[in-house]
Symmetry: D2
Subunit: 422 residues, 4 copies
């Protein structure tokens, strides 16, 4: 089984693994990921960033395969219960492939704008554990416990600590793939993530007083690769994930959903979306009908709504006429900025909540959680922060994205009102 | 105006050009291209190939900008009426950006499966010439004749011959962008197209007895770049555009549309699609509502149809359970193969047209049309075929893709029936 | 053991293999390859093409390692005596690393301009078989027969046919590395060689009536990769290896050596070079002192020679003031062109042999030698020429490089004399 | 004039500029740069890092050309005397091409190991100002003041402040090229330097109270590009320029030169090197004879020296049998480590200076010198450190490379002696 991937080159599986992977790829719930863009609204700012969760899921599975290969060469350093046999390898590959099954339309955007609704991780669990889904059946045929093992692994749990961390940790196969892929596709060329070197310098060690192996990195060779991982993450947040157009569009879709709740049933809303908006229980089978296509068609319908607020928001999103942003200083008082923005919005005859807001996001470049230690000569173990002046320097700073978001027509008035805050 | 593009790097425009480009990009008809995948069904075979016509249109405009820059440095070699002033430059950039406006869902697939319907080029013209579209209005404000000039240029017509050829010819900005982009995105790494070198070795000359300049390539430096262009095209056809999974899926969607026609109105069909299926006139405004999202939602609805043939085809497409293919020898008699296939299909209780067919496509690697000549020392002009043994060699061969296409369940019986034809 | 390589990424070896590789890399004869540029005089035309034979040797060893990995996954398809055990793997890796040991200064140039002298393959054998060289000793410690086995393998001989072909055949690890490396380093971006895909589609089969496995390629997946290999080769010859500046420089150095022979001992000539020029026997140990540095220092000395012919040639090479070239038609009669060139040279007061010549080189894009067959479904085997219209087309054409080479001052007169031959 | 460059793609010049560039490239002093490796001894650690100063010089000239293009589009923002006319453009391109003329063998290594001798910048000046060099003559024909203007510009002086800074500043075309090139060639893939984006976000502004424009970067678009530049620099130092093998080799060559001084005239030493070793005056013409080839031939001769210390050091360098290193903690007292190392060395019967030393290098990731400010909306100017939390974080940390360097045979004893210092 051979797949061409622009990011990783060839992706291949053989033997029993190939058979399992093929069957999982054929599941409707996995194919659905083709219909959900990985970058959601950030594609509006980066013409190249139109790839789907499906491509990412396959890539994450490939990185997991390489992780397993690396762990195999380190088998002697591992206590027996931390080695990965073929069954666990299958569970791990499935977890990497299926970790994003629960995403709704536009990936993270959807859950961000539906605050009360279950998060995508919850839906992933439901899909895996529901005996009627195709992925459940394929996994259960492998082994009756497999659906549960995969589901737990996706949540970072399970008897093999380092494997759980590789599926869901500070430093996991999911992030490895999406940082590389999103960079490749958007053309944001800060390719700091050298996954070959990273894997080659990966080590496993058993801390004193423990019987379970943990991830580490070789202190001679691997430090720059690990730093590169965290730098790549920081850069992608600043350049892509928090791009002003993406944030503005998210604020618009959030306002649109709020308006939908207020208005009552609106033509064009799929029943399952209506249920989610009203906080009703939704069955897995219905949830899976939601994808980018369904949302796009709903937006197209809202562009013909009788309600002008809903119509304008939908039209703006469909035609990419987005809210504008004004950069605010990181130390500026957000509450005061919000107050002034509300004053500008006051005369517009529309509830301020539909016109914009102050958007403040802080990213930690690196937070030490000891998930990855540094192995020095002579078996000495060091914390990353002690080993890396670069991460130490980054950990001391906050990366603040602070902006006012508002309709284009109000740009002059907002700029005047917030002039001393930029 | 700055855009990041993964294929070309930075795309930038300034001054009046930037203002025009921004206004065109903001048009609803251009934004619609975000909702149409460039590779259509080939994305099913290449997880990375999910980019839209929008990204391609912007890229084509960028290559046109570079072509115009090159022509500017060659201005002395040109008769005055072949030089490009600012107005013509704007028309040319608009033509490159807008040349694909008329595409329906899944790009070329849509027109391929709706044989009677107008082709995308016709729709592009209608959209440009309809005074109610946004692109028409933006162009008409530039100059009342601009919509017509752009439309003619897209069809390879207009007073400046070399420019018309650069928009629509053997060797145009459209192909330059899509060959590079489709290769980058699918990961099919036969990057034979070196657009920098190609442009640097581009020349213009006025043939004896003519007053109008034509494209040529420098015989010392440019031959390999031109050959690379035709090789890249050949490779992309063989590897991507005619990939067996893409062809199988196209045959399924073709069967599905045929079934739709037979069945009469089917729940979930958008009115405009219904009209197109019935061969009725469709208004530009309605046509523009059709995009990948609309087709995907229709397919999802057909998956719940009462008609088993329609349901199976739709389900197969949505869930990527595609027809299988069997490679046939290039010399094999297609009619005889078709006959044998029909025999296998006969017992299935379903019309054979819904089960597959013989698929035969021939690609010419290079057909000499003198669109691009070779400039030798001393002003001597040579035909490409005379200058290039490589193209001469390719021109002598036919590249035939010959396959039987059929449902997976019939694989064994088809293989037996066609055993001597592979 | 980890090495960064710009072409292949990470190169790594472990265990006993790492120990052997490290010891071989430490040998003086291998380190000497750092002092011999792979592209020889072509570096004069491509500023980036300054890499050494050392980097190429390491790369070839890496490709061999990947070949061995691939053969391992195909082990079931192989008769026992064609499988590769650890000892043969070591021999194969050594052969790949050491295949170029015998190169003289400027790689191929050196033997090209010293027609009577032993070719580099002969020197490679002598170095490997001489019990006093470091590589001989390292290999002999591995196994007393190892030096001979390695030497035979480098010459395409040995009991395992497919391995011998992978070291030295139409399609070997040497070519795989140098085509990729020379392309990467010169920036000639016709990267048609997709070594990942090539290896993934490599197969082994045992022809009827034979007991020995031979190389093949999967007919579904591998054809384009194999074609890409031959296209890449063709392109590199035309663009780089036969670049006019490289050919002109080679003609100058050939003239310089001829002059050296005529003149008798000249200050600055290293004794070993003197011996080679006079056709005397040279000891391996002395031969190994010759490298690019030694030749460069000799050229620098010749720039101060009392003989004006020698001085001018040396100065021109050191300062890159090269002979010029005029392209001649492929059908032009070389003898007649030579005659006319001699006439132009006649009045110069210098023997024509020091002033230039007609240079004619023909490359076969593809010559069928059945070294690599195509495996079709059902175990059917096909010749490459039957399977590939592209190679068939190429095989029908000759690629002729035909040029007059002459001193810059004679450009006008040569152009006039050969005007009807261009 | 067209050149292929693997790093920048096509490099092209036209018209009068092409004529000047061609004449400069033909100068013997520029061609000499082909014989000096840019990375010096670091090539021993990175097989791909074998490129010369020549390739770098051409690349730096290309980046300067792009800088000049960018300045041209910003001309309106500039006071008249800060605009670049054609004459200044020629001076600037020459300065970028010629800035490294004075380098000795192995680039920086040479001056590092000859502490008393003039630095390469001094030699660059002498070469440019000496009326007998070819570059001087070509420049003087352009304009009698050109050699001086070029020489001053290379030293960061001249009437156009921003141009002087672009030739020689924190952030100059030299660094842009070498960071990109060294990364491409070594395969150390932390390509953080996006020169396209950097140039596109470059601005010029006139500070209050000044009449002269200074470099700035757009605060919205350019900050990440500038940070990337400094990160790339930091990474290349840590990974390549200060690689342990490069430092060990430099220490060996330093010891070798010290020994040469002690020994008196040694067979194989070129006269000019002898003069430099003895601190005698050396004529420009003689200095230019020194290059990598000359040094390599001298090292080969020293391998046959009667003095065992000299012989061992030379043999080790030629055959890449280098000193080993032991990493020491950044806070460890270097003097104490040096003392302990001396104790280990004491019993060896060779002066400790020939056996190794403690090597301590500190790199500042970023030192604020206001050479590049940040332009915010409304013409507000901000210091980089105030605008960039990332640079602020880096500026707070020291990057210390601290190692003991010693002969391989002493590894065990050194490790024991310094065990508590690692």
């Amino acid at each position: 089984m051979l797949l061409r991937d622009p990011v990783h080159g060839l992706i291949s599986f053989s033997g029993a693994t190939a058979r399992l992977v093929t069957r999982l790829l054929d599941c409707a719930e996995v194919q659905r990921l083709r219909r959900i863009r990985a970058l959601g609204l950030a594609a509006l700012a980066f013409p190249g960033g139109e790839h789907s969760r499906f491509a990412h899921a396959v890539g994450a599975m490939h990185v997991m395969q390489r992780y397993l290969d690396r762990v195999r060469t380190l088998a002697q350093e591992l206590p027996p219960h931390d080695r990965i046999d073929d069954d666990w390898a299958h569970v791990a590959l499935a977890a990497a492939l299926l970790h994003d099954l629960g995403h709704g339309p536009l990936s993270h955007t959807f859950e961000a704008v539906l605050p009360g609704a279950p998060r995508h991780e919850v839906w992933t669990s439901r899909i895996l554990l529901d005996p009627d889904t195709q992925v459940h059946r394929v996994l259960a045929e492998l082994d009756p416990t497999a659906p549960t093992l995969v589901e737990r692994l996706i949540h970072g749990q399970g008897p093999i600590g380092h494997l759980a961390r590789a599926v869901s940790g500070t430093f996991d196969v999911d992030r490895c793939d999406y940082l590389m892929r999103d960079s490749y596709m958007t053309g944001v060329r800060y390719g700091l993530l050298d996954v070959d070197w990273l894997l080659a310098s990966l080590r496993l060690y058993v801390p004193e007083g423990s019987t379970s192996a943990r991830l580490a990195v070789d202190g001679e060779k691997g430090l720059t690769a690990v730093e590169g991982f965290f730098l790549a993450r920081l850069y992608m947040y600043r350049q892509v994930y928090l791009h002003k157009a993406a944030r503005a569009a998210e604020m618009m879709i959030r306002a649109l959903f709020r308006r939908l709740c207020e208005l009552g049933p609106e033509p064009g809303t799929p029943p399952v979306l209506e249920d989610l908006l009203r906080g009703r229980d939704v069955h897995v089978h219905d949830y899976l009908r939601l994808d980018d296509h369904a949302l796009a068609e709903a937006l197209a319908a809202y562009g013909r709504s009788a309600d002008p607020v809903l119509r304008d928001l939908a039209d703006g999103l469909v035609g990419r006429r987005l809210f504008k942003t004004l950069r605010l200083g990181p130390q500026v008082d957000s509450a005061e900025a919000e107050r002034r923005l509300a004053e500008v919005f006051a005369g517009e005859g529309v509830a301020p909540a539909y016109l914009g807001a102050i958007d403040r996001v802080e990213i930690d470049a690196y937070t030490d959680d000891e998930a990855l230690m540094v192995l020095r000569g002579g078996g000495r173990v060091q914390r990353l922060l002690d080993a890396s002046p670069l991460l130490r320097g980054l950990a001391r700073e906050r990366f603040v994205h602070h902006r006012a978001v508002f309709p284009p027509a109000l740009r002059a008035r907002v700029s005047t009102a917030l002039a001393d805050m930029t």
